[in-house]
């Protein structure tokens, strides 16, 4: 896997600005139904390379809208979004980044139902200038890494929720993204599978050095991140601050110890 260098056939990604955060939201608002529904209001947020951020908030607080905008899957109705210091003004500007520098994991997996596990992972590698055999090999390696070597040729309906999510995670890191966004990745899973999926995400984040933004309403899961951002009614109400390197993502053992130490 070490020799994998994805090449995109899209126009080159925007040139990074030295020292700029990976993604920065500046007074971002997102409304729906002509302003009747406000999902995000005046959000300022920056994610640094390699950071591990937990975004915590109840249902309907705007977490998913936030992650959609950070991942270039949606555009704000007001405010600006910067990728590596470059203003991203349209969806087409994101198409050079989305899926290549950014990997997204969704709560409901979003696998293509007609493709097997390995084909779903391969989908993320099509159009990146890789040969079919290299795509296949890379996809197989990723699935092995996710512990799914025996399930590669199964269609999504034949996989459990946890397995599906692991396929989705394998797909999201296929192009070695620098930012991994996970939108309630354990929301549909039982506790055992949720723990396994969370462990996999943190393991990948640690191994690949990518920034991880983990959206969840599970406080324990958010606590495993080095930084926690709380969101309520579309606005950020608390941000534990940027402190990369000082506090790596919490391991499961440490989290358990911390939880056990609480009164």
């Amino acid at each position: 896997m070490g020799d994998f260098n994805p090449v995109t056939n899209e126009t080159a990604s925007p040139q990074p600005h030295q020292g700029a955060p990976l993604v920065r939201l500046e007074k971002v608002s997102r409304t729906f139904d002509d302003g009747a529904v406000v999902a995000l209001r005046d959000v300022d947020l920056a994610i640094q390379p390699g950071e591990c951020v937990g975004v915590l908030g109840p249902s309907g607080s705007g977490k998913s809208s936030l992650i959609q905008i950070m991942g270039g899957c949606d555009v704000p109705t007001a405010g600006r979004v910067y990728w590596r210091g470059n203003a991203m003004t349209s969806l087409s500007s994101w198409s050079r980044v989305r899926g290549i520098e950014i990997g997204v994991v969704f709560q409901d997996y979003l696998l293509l139902p007609t493709l097997t596990a390995i084909e779903n992972v391969e989908m993320a590698l099509i159009g990146r200038g890789l040969s079919a055999s290299l795509r296949r090999r890379r996809s197989a390696e990723l699935l092995e890494q996710a512990g799914l070597e025996a399930r590669m040729n199964h269609l999504p309906y034949a996989l459990s929720g946890g397995e599906r999510q692991r396929v989705a995670i394998a797909r999201s890191i296929a192009n070695r993204p620098v930012l991994l966004l996970a939108d309630e990745p354990t929301g549909n899973l039982d506790s055992a599978n949720a723990r396994a999926v969370a462990d996999l995400l943190f393991k990948i984040q640690s191994a690949e050095g990518a920034a991880l933004v983990l959206v969840t309403h599970d406080g324990a899961l958010a606590a495993r991140c080095s930084r926690t951002v709380r969101i309520m009614d579309g606005a950020i109400v608390d941000d534990s601050g940027v402190d990369p390197g000082a506090r790596p993502c919490a391991s499961t053992d440490r989290l358990r110890q911390e939880a056990g130490a609480r009164p």
Partner: protein, 372 residues
């Protein structure tokens, strides 16, 4: 996996949807093909039938609406025979007449010395002799339909005829026709001395200008015009009406087929809006996403067209088995008919996929995922 295999996978792993959409395309193409074939066959079958009689030109009454409705004096043949360039001339009387009391069959009455008898291909028996009367030669199809053979008796307009031959014509029109001496048909139909037109053989080597002069001279004899078969077909008003009707039906079938193809593709793509959202969310470019959808549409179109050809031929055989159609029209889709229909159908499938694909990929990935 690449774009083509992705499209194939989608078709293979949704067998029900693939079957329904390709069947819709196939039925639309098949019915359009059959109706286009029917439309084209009316003129072609009639022309084939006239050409098989061995004439270079047919002379018709100027104001007659079609081959059947002319009423010319048989005597005109003598004047025409004297014109320069005419090798042979034979009057003929054409009509539908009751046979065996209740079956209407197409009848051709030819003079016993007509050159058309001499060129008639015989399966059995012989054509009439110079002085023979109340004899009939049946086209092979007519013989089979009437269960008659050489030596059998046949009632035509309540007069008894004897079958003396079975003709082995190729055209559907002639195969279903009964040929009798002109005099007999004139008497039986109370049209003595009258013909519906003349068949004319030209002397070999006539120049175009000589032919034009001859046509002008025939026109000068009064109430007549001479024309080769194709021109004759163009002037046949009944054929024109039939062609217009069948073309209109073809256009309606084509429009309905096109709408049904577009609807099937629109539905098939709309139900995949979520998948399109996923593809874009994992980094697929709009161009590649559209290409995969359009490729799928082209595949559906191609499979549907192949089915459509089978359906078209099957429908043609079905139509041909309807007595009043199949007796006189031979119609099968020809390569000339297949190519434009199939090209248009595949193009329609590609264009029909392009629009919903363009619409679906115009959405942001999150909007596409939300709409699903």
């Amino acid at each position: 996996m690449n774009l083509a295999t992705l499209a194939l996978r989608n078709l293979q792993r949704r067998p029900m949807r693939t079957t329904i959409v390709t069947l819709s395309v196939g039925l639309a193409v098949g019915s359009a093909l059959a109706l286009v074939a029917l439309s084209g066959s009316i003129e072609r079958s009639t022309a084939e039938g006239v050409d098989e009689h061995g004439a270079d030109m047919t002379i018709m009454q100027r104001d007659a609406s079609d081959l059947f409705s002319g009423a010319l004096p048989e005597e005109n043949g003598k004047a025409i025979a004297k014109l320069k360039g005419v090798e042979a001339i034979a009057g003929d009387l054409v009509m539908f007449a009751p046979v065996e009391h209740d079956r209407q069959k197409l009848m051709f009455g030819w003079p016993n010395d007509s050159f058309s008898w001499a060129t008639m291909p015989m399966r059995a028996g012989r054509p009439p002799t110079r002085d023979e009367s109340h004899v009939a030669v049946l086209g092979l199809g007519a013989a089979e339909q009437l269960h008659k053979g050489v030596g059998d008796d046949l009632d035509i307009m309540d007069e008894r005829f004897r079958v003396i031959g079975v003709a082995d014509y190729v055209s559907a029109l002639n195969r279903s026709t009964i040929f009798v001496p002109l005099r007999d048909l004139q008497e039986a139909s109370f049209r003595q001395g009258q013909v519906t037109g003349f068949h004319m053989k030209l002397e070999p080597g006539l120049s175009e200008s000589e032919v034009e002069t001859l046509k002008a001279e025939i026109a000068g004899l009064g109430r007549m015009f001479a024309a080769p078969t194709d021109e004759l077909m163009r002037n046949d008003r009944n054929l024109a009406v039939l062609k217009a009707v069948s073309r209109s039906v073809s256009w309606i079938a084509l429009t309905m087929g096109a709408l049904s193809v577009l609807n099937a593709l629109l539905m098939a793509i709309q139900e995949r809006t979520r998948e399109i959202g996923i593809m874009m969310a994992i980094g697929w470019s709009r161009r590649d996403t559209m290409a995969s959808i359009v490729l799928e549409g082209a595949l559906i179109g191609s499979i549907g067209c192949a089915l459509g050809v089978v359906f078209g031929y099957a429908a043609s055989f079905l139509f041909s088995s309807v007595p009043m159609i199949g007796d006189y029209l031979s119609f099968h889709p020809t390569v000339a008919m297949l190519l434009p229909t199939l090209t248009a159908s595949v193009a329609l499938c590609v264009l029909g996929s392009l629009y919903p694909a363009w619409r679906a990929t115009s959405l942001s990935p999150s909007e596409a995922l939300r709409r699903a």
